[in-house]
């Protein structure tokens, strides 16, 4: 598979961001906030916090296949192996005194010490338990937003309720940051996030080209800045470059999967510890995973610098993961059409029920209603004890064969 030239810039940018967090944690005047990956990061940027994202850290533990060995340390402390393996691997790493950041820069020997942890439960409740662990460890506040779940229509009432909670974070965060919130800086951060988000959307949309210039697996890597540098102008600059490269690929007809013959859509979490293996397997079969719900989770259409709190709230409430199955089904049908895919891969991630949308009959309804065939792979985001290589491989190979057979 052709390698994206932007990857080198990506690595440098991520390294820079991790070093900044590390430096902020060491500096006497530095302030570090830990934030959930779709939490109110713009507010934190505007208040001058260096922002660290434990989910990103956990994904790094998963991708480096360290997670499985770390989870037992959390289990031994009473965290069930059935709950979020991002959380358990991250807590396990902390207990063992290791960090995935050391793999990026050996001089970084620990996660940056937080001054505050800020969550949004729009993804799951586990983030509260996760952050509360660190709140106790470091003796720092844990504050956040309790988001509505099972959202059908995104009503003004729901948005107002979340916006009110985000506003409620300002006073405690100001006290920790030691400065007042500058509304102009908040507007700027929201504007940058919006620009980043729009560029990220355009990057992902290139996947609708045939052949696709990028795969879900590429996007899982290149989404880094959209997650950890949201609200930072370097992220938008990065995606301008990546977008240009991908559009160049489209113009030249360069396929991310040479000989693309089957197009798929990935629903659910990546299998971080097998990202490369699954990517290589599908590429060998000529199957391109052109789109995904996961990577689209960092597209926030609602962000509006003219109404920072309300638009941050709307972006949070609109998230795919918070919605009802009926809404999700419509989104998946639309996405399948938009990316003109032959089928959908549902990842049933054992420890991530909120991001496993195949458990309430969705695949059958999607096939009956939108004519989208699918396969379910049973695995996990981080815990490879819940992954069987042979079973996943067989399911994916058989599904690609089925899709190829059905193609005109």
């Amino acid at each position: 598979m052709p390698r994206l030239e932007s990857t080198a810039r990506l690595q440098a940018l991520m390294l820079e961001a991790f070093r900044e967090c590390d430096a902020a944690a060491r500096a006497p005047q530095g302030r570090v906030a830990w934030c959930t990956s779709v939490g109110p990061v713009e507010l934190l940027r505007a208040l001058g916090f260096a922002v660290f994202f434990p989910e990103n850290h956990a994904a790094m533990l998963g991708a480096s296949r360290a997670a499985t060995d770390l989870i037992p340390a959390a289990s031994a402390e009473g965290y069930s192996p059935d709950v979020c393996s991002y959380m358990t691997s991250d807590i396990g790493a902390f207990r063992r005194g290791v960090t995935a950041l050391s793999r990026v820069d050996p001089s970084i020997t620990s996660v940056p010490r937080p001054d505050v942890l800020v969550y949004d439960t729009n993804q799951c409740r586990d983030v509260v338990d996760w952050f509360s662990f660190y709140g106790r460890q470091f003796g720092v506040p844990v504050i956040g937003v309790a988001a509505p779940r099972g959202v059908d229509a995104v009503t003004d009432d729901l948005v107002a309720a979340v916006a009110s909670q985000i506003r409620g974070l300002v006073a405690p965060l100001e006290a920790i940051a030691g400065r007042r919130l500058d509304p102009g800086r908040l507007r700027d951060a929201v504007a940058i996030s919006r620009d980043t988000s729009l560029l990220w959307r355009r990057v992902l949309s290139t996947g609708s080209a045939r052949p696709s210039p990028l795969t879900f697996f590429d996007a899982c890597i290149h989404m880094g800045p959209a997650v950890i540098l949201r609200g930072d102008p370097r992220s938008a600059a990065y995606y301008e470059g990546l977008l240009a490269e991908l559009e160049g690929r489209i113009a030249r007809g360069v396929a991310a999967v040479p000989g693309e013959r089957v197009r798929l859509y990935w629903e659910g979490m990546p299998i971080w510890g097998r990202l490369r293996d699954v990517s290589d397997l599908l590429a060998r079969l000529g199957a391109c995973v052109a789109g995904s719900t996961y990577c689209s989770s960092w597209v926030f259409d609602a962000l509006d610098p003219a109404a920072p709190f309300d638009s941050m709230a709307r972006a949070s409430v609109e998230l795919f993961i918070t919605r009802t199955d009926a809404v999700k089904e419509r989104v998946l049908a639309d996405e399948a059409r938009r990316y003109s895919v032959d089928g959908m891969v549902f990842h049933d991630a054992k420890t991530c029920p909120n991001n496993s949308n195949c458990r309430y009959g969705m695949p059958g309804r999607l096939a009956a209603g939108a004519g989208v065939p699918s396969v379910i792979v049973h695995s996990d985001l981080n815990d490879l004890r819940l992954h069987a290589d042979e079973g996943v491989r067989l399911a994916l190979e058989a599904f690609v064969e089925q899709c190829a057979e059905a193609s005109p």
Binding site: P373, H378, G391, L394, Q402
Partner: protein, 262 residues
């Protein structure tokens, strides 16, 4: 028998099977061996078995397709295809109608739905757990101090099947211990083991008419077939040699790839 010949090799987790088709698509020979741990060696042995049965096929095998867990370990194969595709092809070849193939394999159970043109519409595989698979039967047989064939012989004499509640093979084995301690007859326990497999199968997907049961445990007229029929309330179609349908599908694939009509 006329050449060219087409060969299908199914290296499964417990047994390796091979089917040789002649130029007219008739089965010229079929063989079964324990898979063991040397996939390449068993594949070579199967080929030798076929050639011993049909000496005229020596040098006349036009194409070989491998399938099963060891499909990538058949050095003389011209291609590898999953057993789901092979089971679908064989199901269509044998019955020529919309059917749902249930293959109870050694390590997994698959349910494959075929349309009325023979195309695969969907498939399901059992989840991570081994319950509902051939391996489950083997494990339970071992727990009852017998062989898989012995387990079926015991079940034939059972009348009041015990209910095994566990999804997990390991837990099911401990349930067996409790049942033995509680004085249940080993025959009724053996019958309950088959019912446990049936329950795992029927919960995988809605099962309508045209059910085909394949796999080594699906002996025509055997306990598994009868218990599945009882659970579904209707007859089940069973190929003459249900253990060989994967290899048959692979041989059919070899024939189709070779340009011959299937």
């Amino acid at each position: 028998m006329n050449g060219p010949f087409y060969c299908g090799i199914d290296v499964g987790s417990s047994y390796a099977k091979a089917v040789l088709l002649d130029g007219a698509g008739r089965v010229a020979a079929d063989v079964v061996r324990r898979t063991g741990v040397a996939f390449e060696a068993v594949a070579e042995a199967l080929r030798a078995d076929l050639l011993a049965a049909v000496p005229g096929a020596l040098g006349g095998i036009e194409r070989t397709i491998a399938t099963g867990y060891g499909r990538e370990n058949v050095p003389f194969a011209d291609g590898a295809v999953t057993e789901l595709t092979c089971q679908a092809l064989a199901g269509w070849h044998l019955f020529r109608r919309a059917v749902t193939v249930i293959d109870v394999g050694g390590q997994d159970t698959k349910v494959i739905v075929l349309g009325d043109d023979g195309r695969r519409l969907s498939f399901q595989m059992n989840r991570r757990c081994a319950s509902g698979t051939g391996a489950f039967l083997e494990e339970m047989a071992a727990r009852l101090d017998t062989t898989p064939a012995g387990l079926e012989a015991l079940a034939e004499r059972g009348h009041d099947a015990v209910a095994l509640s566990s999804f997990c093979t390991v837990f099911a084995k401990s349930e067996l211990l409790s049942l033995i301690r509680g004085g249940r007859s080993v025959e009724d326990i053996a019958l309950g083991v088959y019912d446990a497999v049936v329950r795992r199968v029927v919960e995988m997907t809605p099962l309508h008419d045209g059910i085909v049961l394949t796999g080594g445990a699906a002996r025509p007229g055997g306990v598994l077939v009868r218990r599945l029929e009882a659970a579904l309330g209707r007859p089940v179609l069973v190929p003459e040699k249900p253990q060989l349908t994967g290899a048959l599908g692979a041989a059919l694939m070899a024939m189709r790839d070779g340009g011959a009509p299937v």
